[in-house]
């Protein structure tokens, strides 16, 4: 069974339940995907499939990848990602179609994407340093402070938190609840936010460490005296 899907982030909105509770929701346009390659334990050492995101605009491929897609018997796709295959269900074959009906309402998923790039940022924004006072004669505002001792060790230890490039990294948001699956429009609504900006590419997979789904506790009246 294929455990994931490629999609694009559309944007955020909110969903009401019948009792007026509002859930923040991210809309993802997920799939449809085609299986471009099947990786097996014998050939590759692990079980996975390479999925291609089917998009309206066909891509121009070089000779090497044209051959790769020809082998699978699928049209070339611009975006390709690999997802693991879980035991159970029918084993995937090259050329298979995968879509959002893979997921069900209320299920937990992980969403993997590339976070928005923030450029070169200081330690206050990048590492949540507290910084100093802005006023009252303070001359220490947003500087990092001491980065180590002097003659010993005479160097800065590795991994010291400093300013630098922030964002534009691969981020996994785990255990997001699926609020709605719209197979007709290939849409998936998950609770909360996902990394990246609108139109960025994300991989949605079944949660690898799924939290149990909380069921609202019904209050029962206690017997006895008040």
């Amino acid at each position: 069974m294929v455990t994931g899907l490629i999609g694009r982030k559309v944007g955020m909105t909110q969903l009401f339940t019948a009792d007026g509770t509002v859930f923040p929701a991210t809309v993802l346009k997920a799939g449809p995907c085609v299986v471009a390659q099947v990786k097996t334990v014998d050939g590759d050492g692990y079980e996975a499939v390479q999925l291609g995101l089917v998009e309206a605009k066909p891509t121009k491929e070089n000779k090497a990848s044209t051959g790769h897609f020809k082998k699978a018997g699928v049209p070339p796709t611009r975006v390709r990602r690999e997802v693991r295959v879980r035991a159970g269900g029918d084993s995937p074959k090259a050329g298979d179609q995968v879509n959002v009906s893979l997921f069900a309402d209320g299920e937990r998923v992980d969403v993997i994407g590339t976070s928005r790039g923030k450029g070169f940022q200081g330690v206050v924004k990048r590492h949540h340093f507290a910084g100093g006072r802005m006023s009252h004669g303070s001359m220490f505002h947003r500087a990092p402070g001491s980065i180590g001792a002097s003659s010993f060790p005479s160097r800065v230890v590795k991994g010291m938190r400093m300013g630098g490039h922030m964002g534009d990294t691969r981020i996994t948001t785990r255990n997001l609840k699926v609020l709605r699956v719209d197979a007709e429009n290939n849409l998936l609504l998950v609770e909360g936010s996902v990394p990246g900006g609108p139109n960025s590419i994300v991989v949605i997979r079944k949660a690898i460490a799924a939290k149990p789904i909380r069921v609202a506790q019904v209050e029962t009246k206690k017997k006895g005296k008040k």
Partner: protein, 115 residues
């Protein structure tokens, strides 16, 4: 917003009367108490409409026992049974936050006839 988000939000939109800042409205709010449901009415002046598809909301202000009370309602929330527009008045700005500083006679507004 994108067309896809509109598509998702379309199913949640509810029919609400055409109201604007300066209108006096009666908002019928459903309240659940245990397994019983009743309707509470909040009457006051709309001091701001906040647009945005299914995320739209509006702020209603009233003076209750001399104490100003403001409540922000999601426009398309299923807890709002209905909204009645009682009175409209002529206002010259979209957000009537200046009403917070006024009281009594100063906070009156001239009524306009609704079309």
């Amino acid at each position: 917003m994108s067309a896809i988000v509109d598509l998702v939000e379309r199913g949640q939109l509810t029919e609400k009367p055409d109201m604007k800042s300066g209108d006096t409205v009666r908002v019928h709010v459903k309240i659940r108490e245990g397994d019983k449901e009743r309707v509470q009415i909040f009457e006051g002046i709309v001091i701001g409409m906040h647009r945005g598809g299914a995320r739209a909301s509006f702020t209603v202000r009233k003076v209750s026992f001399g104490q100003g009370v403001e409540r922000i309602f999601p426009l398309h929330s299923p807890t709002i049974a209905k909204v009645d527009v009682v009175r409209s008045s002529r206002v010259r700005r979209a957000k009537l936050y200046f009403l917070r500083g006024l009281k009594g006679k100063a906070a009156r507004m001239k009524e306009t006839k609704r079309a």
